[in-house]
């Protein structure tokens, strides 16, 4: 009997197939596995119907506390997702296909990825992009390794204002290579410009900054780009794609390699994934870029078509000398990103960015009025900002979480000395009413503080 209705054969069919093979039983086909190596047990519970499976999955989802209002970011953001994103990306012609190795029967995926690469290039103001990386953190690591290859040097400088998660991922990636990683401690939520000037010399391969940074601050990095270039190093910028609706693009700043997490572009929070990492660079660096790249060409009749290109850089041909080990990427999430960007469009992305900033500025103005609370830095911010509380931020956040509000990300865990600070994120989805409620709840939480 079939235990899995996903295995379609009847007993008669199995018998016919075995007879064609010349085997007495299915078990015979496993004869190449020596008997003494055979598994003795498999402690997986008995199977169930799809209805029971779905009920179990609902129970599991129900074990998480529901309905939390998010004022947290840290790399993942609660943004609107137009209905078309799910409907189109969930067409199974997209999601049950694989890497488009055979271009004639994969033009759907290939053209979509070409359009995605185009969107990323236009958003970042850079020349070339790829068909996606895993996430924002691994994209930072891949960009750093790209800078090492391009320059032939072995030192990476990290702004401490970059997401602590991305910095950790980068350090994990580089740990076993002969690479020195220098971290610049933040100064009031900003890049410490005098410290970075001290470490910049002709041994540096790349400098990684983030804009807006983990504290929420936006900085003008144009002068830094010149400084970095003057020592022959590359400037790598991790950016928040929604902010690029209004903010100066990496290309305009002079960034050589731009990376980021694409979750905010049409991908649900989904407890941290899947999202996608994006990467864009100046054209001269294309051969050092990791991952799959789609290129435009013509077919034998002169018709336009799209193919995977520059594959000789990749692991399946170049093996240990490849630009990266990446094979599977996050293509479907990148497709969601493309559909999102094409839906909100040129004007809509600018409007969405302004909406985010307006909401955050409104919240910031209310926080500034709470006695004992101040905004950490005078720097300008996008949709996140850091506030200083009159008590330990961990206590405040855990207190508010019990009331169903994820009020912010406390910084003490990531930066010693900033135990009273937290980063508050306000996206376009947070209404004025919810922002007012957050401010009121925070006032209540701070009621026991005496000045």
């Amino acid at each position: 009997m079939n235990d899995s209705h996903y295995c379609p054969h009847t007993p008669e069919e199995i018998a016919e197939m075995l007879s064609a093979i010349g085997a007495a039983s299915v078990e015979d086909l496993f004869a190449p596995i020596p008997t003494e190596l055979r598994a003795k047990t498999l402690n997986i519970p008995p199977g169930m119907s799809e209805f029971e499976t779905f009920s179990r999955m609902q129970e599991i989802a129900g074990e998480n506390v529901q309905g939390i209002t998010h004022f947290i970011g840290g790399g993942f953001y609660d943004h609107i997702i137009p209905s078309v994103v799910d409907h189109l990306a969930n067409r199974s012609e997209f999601y049950t296909a694989y890497t488009p190795y055979q271009p004639e029967c994969s033009q759907g995926t290939l053209q979509a990825l070409f359009e995605y690469q185009t969107a990323i290039c236009r958003l970042t103001g850079l020349d070339v992009s790829n068909a996606s990386l895993y996430d924002g953190g691994t994209a930072c690591a891949e960009a750093a390794m790209m800078a090492l290859r391009v320059t032939g040097r072995n030192k990476i400088v990290l702004d401490g204002c970059v997401s602590p998660f991305s910095r950790e991922v980068l350090k994990t990636y580089l740990f076993n290579l002969d690479v020195e990683v220098v971290e610049i401690a933040p100064l009031d939520g900003l890049l410490n410009r005098s410290l970075i000037a001290d470490v910049l010399d002709d041994t540096v391969a790349g400098v990684l900054i983030q804009n807006p940074n983990f504290f929420g601050s936006i900085e003008d990095f144009s002068a830094l780009a010149n400084q970095v270039h003057s020592v022959g190093a590359l400037l790598i910028g991790s950016v928040y794609p929604i902010s690029l609706g209004i903010l100066k693009s990496p290309g305009e700043i002079g960034i050589d390699i731009a990376v980021g997490d694409g979750q905010s572009l049409g991908n649900p929070l989904s407890f941290g994934g899947p999202s996608f990492g994006f990467i864009a660079a100046k054209k001269t660096f294309i051969r050092n870029m990791p991952g799959r790249i789609v290129g435009e060409t013509v077919d034998r009749n002169g018709k336009r078509g799209f193919v995977l290109t520059l594959q000789a850089r990749e692991q399946h041909i170049k093996r240990h000398k490849a630009t990266s080990n990446i094979c599977s990427n996050q293509g479907l999430c990148a497709l969601r990103g493309l559909i999102f960007l094409s839906s909100v469009g040129k004007e809509g992305l600018a409007e969405l960015a302004r909406l985010n900033r307006d909401k955050a500025e409104y919240a910031k103005s209310l926080f500034a009025e709470i006695p004992g609370v101040s905004v950490l830095q005078s720097a300008v911010t996008f949709n996140e900002f850091t506030i200083v509380l009159p008590k330990n931020a961990d206590d405040v956040v855990s207190g508010l979480l019990k009331k169903g509000i994820a009020a912010g990300v406390p910084l003490g865990q990531y930066y010693s000395g900033l135990e009273s600070c937290m980063v508050v994120t306000v996206t376009e989805k947070r209404t004025k009413k919810k922002i007012d409620q957050l401010v009121d709840a925070l006032k209540t939480e701070l009621a026991d503080v005496r000045f």
Binding site: R287, L310, Q311, A312, R313, I317, K318, K321
Partner: protein
């Protein structure tokens, strides 16, 4: 001017103490349409059979090994924008680098043109 070959299908033409290096017609044909040639920097010191550069086609990538030790004097920069010349004229116009030969004794480790053609028949 005499021409010598390696088992990895590079050639070197020797004129005085200057060696001009490229890949053989056979290698170019095996790789298919060449899409990229990575040339060494001028001044690089290479050792015999050490990596001099690399070459890519649509489906393959291969290192180019130097037939002799020496210092790179000149590279054929035109290949960077016109890699197809390797397919058209691998053993002439598509020379890749010129080196100042460090030690002519190393020539004994290479094959003559005739020996190379015999070698190809064994592959």
């Amino acid at each position: 001017m005499s021409m010598y070959f390696t088992k990895e299908h590079e050639w070197v033409k020797v004129a005085g103490n200057v060696g001009t290096i490229g890949i053989s017609d056979h290698a170019a044909h095996e790789l298919g349409d060449i899409t990229f040639v990575e040339l060494p920097k001028i001044g690089t010191v290479v050792t015999q059979f050490g990596v001099l550069g690399s070459i890519e086609s649509v489906k393959a990538a291969s290192d180019i090994y130097s037939p002799l030790s020496g210092k790179v004097l000149k590279v054929n920069e035109s290949l960077e924008t016109a890699p197809e010349v390797v397919n058209e004229s691998a053993e002439d116009a598509a020379w890749m680098a010129q080196i100042e030969i460090a030690d002519e004794v190393e020539l004994k480790n290479l094959m003559t043109q005739e020996q190379y053609y015999d070698y190809l028949k064994t592959l």
